[in-house]
Structures are given as C-alpha cells and as structure tokens.
C-alpha cells in the first residue's frame, strides 16, 4: 500500500442532513487504492449513510465526492444557503439603525449573489454528471444488508443481467465469467435456482459475485452479515476475506469486530456523523484513546 498511494475515493466537507438531523457532519477522507477500510460505530452514527453517499445512492446535502480524481458530486450551494439563513437570523437581532446591521445586509447580498452563481454552476455540473454517474457506479460494487437479489431472475441471470444490458460483454462471455465466479464460491450447482430457493448465506455470496462480475475497482459492503443467521456469517466473511486477499479495495461497514481486526488495513470509528477516530486495527482495538471509542468497544467486545 505504501508504494501505491493512488487516491481512489475522496470526500470533502461531506454533509448529509435528514430534515433537521445532521447525519454526516463535514467528513473528509481519502481512500487509497488497495486499502481495506472498515467503518465501525454505534447505530445511528451515520456509517451506512456515509457508505451510500460514496456511490450516491444517498444524495449528500453538500460537499464533494470524488472517484478516481473525477468529481461525482459537488454541491456547496446548500452550504451557502445555510450561511445566509444564519446571517439573517443574526441581523434580525440587531436594532434597525445600527451600522452593524447594514454591514450584515451587505454581507447577505454578497452571499446571495454567490449562491446564485453556485447554483447555476452546479446545474451545469449535474446535467453532465447524470450520465457519467452510471459508468462510475459500474466500477463501485455494492453489497447490501438485505442482499437485494432480483427474485424474478435465476442466479446466473442475476449475475449477468447488468453486464449484458450495459453491453460490457456478450451473453456468452458474461455467462462464462459468471460460471467461473460461481465455481470459485462453490455455488455452480445453484446457477439455475431462483434466489427464493437459497439460504441467506448463499444469497449474500451470490450478491458478492454479482458485484464482482462487473470488475469493480472498489467494493462497498453495507453490513453484509447483519441479516444472516449466525451459522451463515462465517461463509460470507470467508468469501469477503478471499476477495480482500485478491487486492480489491474495500469499504466495509460491519459490526463484526473480529473480522474488522483481521481484514481492515484502516479502521474508522464514526460517532454522531463524524469520524471520531481512525487508525490501524492495532491502534483502534488495542490502544484506543478516544473516550467514545473506549466506551463503544467495552460494549461490543
């Protein structure tokens, strides 16, 4: 990793607000090529939202998301809008005649101008991005907590649907590749089954294969084992480990601390929408310093 410092995904000032709750609060991060980033933290800390913001399944409120040096999302107008609101609130408190008030009003007018310019610029950007986003998403495999396999398609069709529809491969090529991957995970005999006929562990392994079939540059895992029966967690984690050893860049949200320690090259601890602590597994699990992290680990370990 040290000799290959290429930044794959980066975010700047990433903010997500649901109604009035700030779920993500100014997150800056660079994920390097080949890194295995594991995100841990209490529920409601914004882990999943953060992961979903990386491939824009969740549209952030403001900030910047870059993938391979190209911006996927860029929006500061909401941030400026918020500032205008704050300034107006301040101005209202002051008496009418005071010079400070007119100063504020000048500022507000200036910000409004800035806001309009931002808005116009972002509109152009969004139009250009809409098509690009789909191509970028092809390179960001995502595995969901609820598997989200397509129940009306067979296992093989689940895997080949996207490559064929997007004309990345012919039907034959896609089928061959899918069979090869299925063989690797030991599920080749299930290729003509429907997802409804599989166990949870099998479904999740198929979901991982489906993402892998797109040859992604990075894999995003959103609590891949949280919906599984305990005896099936192992098989899924083994597969993820296997993929990790192949050199795939990964961002994993999980509650499996042992797994995080084993696979992660960097652990992020999220709390209340912020990255409260980050470091190597050793630093995070063996020598935690952040008080919230100590408290969290004492509860889960």
């Amino acid at each position: 990793m040290e000799n290959n410092e290429k930044v794959l995904i980066s975010t700047r000032n990433l903010v997500k607000i649901f109604d009035v709750v700030k779920v993500l609060d100014n997150i800056d991060i660079d994920i390097l090529d080949g890194e295995k980033v594991v995100i841990i933290g209490p529920s409601g800390s914004g882990k999943s939202t953060f992961l979903r913001c990386l491939n824009l399944l969740e549209i952030p409120t403001s900030g910047l998301v870059e993938f391979k040096g190209e911006p996927l999302f860029k929006c500061y107008s909401n941030f400026v809008k918020e500032e205008i609101k704050q300034a107006k609130k301040q101005a209202r408190k002051l008496s009418k005649s005071s010079s400070e008030k007119s100063e504020y009003q000048k500022q507000i007018a200036e910000m409004k101008k800035q806001y309009k310019e931002q808005l116009a610029e972002e509109k152009v950007f969004r139009k250009k991005m809409e098509l690009n986003l789909n191509t970028h998403r092809q390179k960001m495999g995502m595995v969901f907590q609820q598997f989200n396999l397509f129940p009306h398609r067979t296992v093989l069709q689940n895997i080949t649907l996207a490559p064929i529809k997007l004309k990345l491969a012919t039907e034959e090529e896609a089928n061959n590749k899918a069979r090869e991957l299925l063989k690797r995970v030991g599920l080749l005999d299930k290729q003509d089954s429907y997802p409804g006929q599989l166990s949870g562990g099998q479904k999740q392994r198929i979901a991982i294969v489906r993402a892998l079939a797109m040859n992604p540059s990075v894999m995003l895992f959103d609590e891949p084992t949280s919906a599984l029966d305990p005896e099936m967690v192992g098989e899924v984690l083994d597969l993820i480990k296997d993929v990790a050893e192949g050199g795939m860049t990964m961002v994993i949200v999980t509650h499996e601390m042992g797994f995080a320690k084993e696979v992660g090259t960097r652990i992020l601890f999220m709390d209340e929408g912020k990255i409260a602590a980050q470091g190597t597994p050793d630093e995070i699990f063996n020598n935690p310093t952040h008080p919230r992290l100590v408290e969290f680990l004492s509860k889960v370990l």
Binding site: N55, L57, N134, T135, H136, R137, Q138, K139, M140, G141, M142, F144, Q146, N148, L149, F150, P151, H152, R153, T154, L161, A162, K165, L166, Y194, G196, Q197, R210, A211, M214
Partner: protein, 231 residues
C-alpha cells in the same frame, strides 16, 4: 312471458350476435392494451423522483389526467370524444368509425384506472431492488424496465383482471355513440320479438361464461409468473 329459444337460435340472429360479440371482445382487448400502455406511462410519471422540473411537470400531468378521467362519467367522456373531438375529423374522406372512437375512449378511460394499479404494483417492489440495479450502473429507465416492472407484473395481475372484467361489461355503454356491440344487439332482439326473458337471460349467461374463461386464463398466466417464487 316464457322462454322462447327460437328467437335467438336462428341463423339470422345468431350471425348478428356472433358479429356483435366479436366487436365486444375486440373493443375490450384493444382498449385494455391501450389502457395498459397509457397506465404504465402514467404510473412511471407518478413514481419518478421529484428532483427536477421535468419530473414535476410529468407528475402533475399524470395527476390531472387521473383527476379528469376518473372524475367524469364514462358515458360523458364517450359523448365528448365522439361528438366534440371526432365530430369534424375526416379521415380518408370518411368520418372516423364509432368502433375506433369507442376503442380509444375506453382505452383512455381504462388508462387512468390501470395507472393506479400499476403505481401500486411498482411501489410494492422493495426499494432495495432499485438501489441494487442502480448500484450496478443501470440507469433509472433500464432498472425500471428490466427489474421493477417485471416484478410488479405478478402483483398487479389480480387487479388488472378486475379492470378487464369491468371493461368487457362496460362496453355496452358504447351504444350511445352508435356501436352495435353484443348488448346493443340483444336489446334490438328484445325490441323486435317482444320477448324479454330469453334475450336477457342469454346475455347474462354469455357474459358469465366469458368472464369465467377470462378468469381461468388469468389464473394460468399468474401461475406462470409466480414460478420464481418457489410457491
């Protein structure tokens, strides 16, 4: 008044009835096809994420369409389409056939009801399916077409069957614009034979048999679609 089968089962009436029954079926099927096409488009308009102005306009268009079509009686709609919109339309030196007008009218009407059925079907598909499709790099339209709509199809089939059954019986309204479909012919038999019992009973039986056949067909179709459920 007593049963008199000869007024129906003679060559001349039978010929008329078969022809009229054919029209009833044809109008129903064509109207249903138009209704499903219109309904699917409207349903997609209604579930589009309201993030930009185009989507919002399409959404309001669908809502207005539904409000107007569901808010006015079918009879009035047929009258307006026939005597106002198509009144002066000349096509290949002829006025537009009432059969065609009836088909279009029923199709437009049915589209509004099918739209709500379709919307329900689309919403019944788990939100994760759209996310899974999008995360693989498929566009919104592609995901809708190859992932969401096929899954909603089996959920909407029972309600769509309802619509088809209602439609086949509703076609009798078309007599107001001069279409001689099945029930219109039955009525004319009543008028000429002065026998009420036989034609009406016969009509009821024919409608019943038709609907039963449709139900059986739908069941078979649904079973095929449910293959992937493993149920």
């Amino acid at each position: 008044m007593k049963l008199d089968l000869t007024i129906i089962f003679n060559e001349k009436t039978m010929l008329l009835l078969v022809k009229a029954y054919g029209w009833t079926l044809a109008i129903t099927v064509m109207a249903l096809v138009i209704g499903i096409i219109i309904g699917t488009i409207l349903a997609i308009f209604m579930v589009l994420p309201k993030t930009n102005i185009v989507n919002k306009v399409l959404n309001s268009f669908a809502n207005i369409y539904l409000a107007v079509v569901r808010g006015t009686p079918l009879l009035v709609q047929l009258m307006i389409i026939s005597f106002v919109i198509f009144a002066d339309v000349i096509f290949f030196n002829r006025t537009v056939s009432p059969y065609l007008i009836a088909t279009i009218g029923f199709g437009i009407n049915s589209g509004a009801y099918v739209a709500e059925i379709m919307r329900g079907g689309i919403l019944s598909v788990d939100k994760g399916q759209m996310e899974a499709g999008r995360s693989l790099g498929l566009g919104y339209g592609q995901t809708m077409k190859s992932i969401i709509l096929p899954q909603s199809a089996k959920n909407i089939l029972p309600s769509l069957g309802n619509e088809a059954i209602a439609l086949i019986k509703e076609t009798s309204v078309a007599l107001v614009i001069g279409v001689s479909e099945f029930f219109t012919t039955i009525k004319s038999i009543v008028n000429t034979s002065y026998n009420v019992v036989t034609p009406y009973l016969f009509a009821a039986i024919i409608y019943l048999v038709t609907v039963m056949a449709m139900t059986a067909l739908l069941k078979k179709f649904e079973k095929r679609l449910r293959k992937s459920d493993g149920k």
